[in-house]
């Protein structure tokens, strides 16, 4: 059965496929493991892939304390799932909010994580790019479902097939609004710039040129900060692509991301 129970008592669901070194996939806000549906089988040709549902998302239970409003708590969940699965030194791939989650996990458990793949998830100065101050958060809380739908619709790249964009939006609407708002709080409250100096493992940064939520200037700042400390980094950026490259252009995403991971021996 594709679930484990974490040390905190959360029933943690995942999709699993493939054989080889361990790769954990962590979705973004208001999404779930289905967000990797166009990548799971591809990466499963090279890795044992576990695509997780964070607490309250997809088929995973909610933590006894309620939806996680802090990225650090979602990171602890990921590490507890890794423990429960008995995985040794997995690589972590995280999209958007999930990028912060895996970066935080790498800092909480240095030496246990082989490397990171930040998919439109290298977010610094998130208040400026996302606009999430207390007043904007209040607005998002009033009607979180519509808030996410409008946000997601405007985050699609100009080259995205409209049918694919519609699919991503419809899948995001399945998320419980309270959980989705907790995601906004976690994303808006996380400061990757405060932990960058503690990241030592190799990092692949993937970025859609038209992403305005985690924009290229943010990702390039993360790249520069890591390179300044001689952390191995690969940086990928694609024109016409927005916030969801694994859904918008999966063939490009899969092949180029895998190649970058291999260059870093992940």
């Amino acid at each position: 059965m594709p679930y484990v129970v974490t040390a905190d008592g959360v029933r943690a669901y995942f999709d699993r496929a493939g054989a080889g070194p361990a790769l954990i996939m962590v979705h973004g806000a208001s999404q779930d493991s289905l967000s990797w549906q166009y990548s799971l089988d591809f990466f499963a040709q090279h890795y044992t892939v576990h695509a997780l549902d964070l607490p309250g998302h997809g088929k995973s239970g909610v933590a006894p304390t309620g939806p996680n409003r802090r990225t650090e708590d979602n990171a602890r969940y990921v590490l507890q799932v890794i423990d429960a699965l008995g995985l040794e030194a997995p690589a972590l791939m995280g999209h958007s909010m999930g990028g912060g989650v895996i970066a935080s996990a790498a800092v909480q458990a240095p030496g246990r994580i082989k490397g990171l793949v930040l998919v439109d998830g290298a977010s610094v100065n998130v208040v400026k790019s996302s606009g999430y101050n207390p007043a904007i958060l209040d607005m998002a809380r009033i009607n979180t479902g519509d808030w996410f739908e409008v946000t997601f619709r405007t985050l699609m790249g100009s080259r995205t097939d409209p049918a694919r964009a519609e699919e991503v939006v419809m899948e995001a609407r399945r998320c419980n609004p309270e959980v989705a708002f907790a995601d906004i709080s976690a994303f808006g409250g996380f400061r990757m710039e405060q932990i960058l100096d503690a990241i030592a493992c190799p990092v692949v940064i993937v970025e859609g040129e038209e992403d305005w939520s985690v924009p290229p200037e943010s990702a390039r700042r993360v790249e520069a900060a890591l390179r300044a400390r001689n952390v191995p980094v690969e940086y990928l950026e694609w024109p016409g692509v927005g916030h969801f490259p694994q859904s918008e252009c999966p063939d490009l995403f899969n092949s180029e991301t895998l190649a970058a991971m291999k260059r870093l021996s992940l």
């Binding site: 904007i136 607005m139 009033i142 519509d146 946000t151 405007t154």
Partner: protein
């Protein structure tokens, strides 16, 4: 101000708003999200007395100048409304703090998707 095709676009121009309302009234996405809707969206430009409104009544979109009795209004400067008129998403202008909401904030956010549906049509209106 002109759009990328060199067209002059003025959000508060009654002719532009009229054409916007006509296109929005035929738009399937607006129709899909306006079931039983009776909403009036206000707009006000800072630094001038210019105000306008758009109404949605079960898929029929109307427009006019002035306050229009809207319960809420989007307020911003001329640059923000110029970008809105050229199709820049209203929610991004809000997130950039270039448009703010005055009046009944809750009523506004409750209609977030419908506001997106209607205002996105700005980019489809021929100058």
């Amino acid at each position: 101000m002109s759009d990328s095709a060199g067209r002059t676009v003025d959000f508060f121009d009654p002719d532009f708003l009229g054409r916007l309302a006509a296109v929005a009234s035929r738009d399937p996405f607006v129709a899909r999200h306006s079931t039983l809707a009776h909403v009036r969206i206000g707009f006000a430009e800072t630094g001038s007395a210019r105000q306008a409104w758009l109404s949605v009544d079960e898929g029929k979109v109307g427009s006019g100048a002035g306050d229009g009795g809207a319960a809420f209004r989007f307020v911003g400067d001329a640059d923000a409304f110029s970008e809105l008129a050229r199709g820049f998403p209203f929610n991004r202008l809000v997130r950039q703090h270039r448009l703010s909401v005055e009046g009944d904030l809750r009523a506004c956010v409750k209609e977030w998707l419908l506001i997106y549906a209607v205002t996105r049509v700005c980019g489809m209106v021929e100058a």
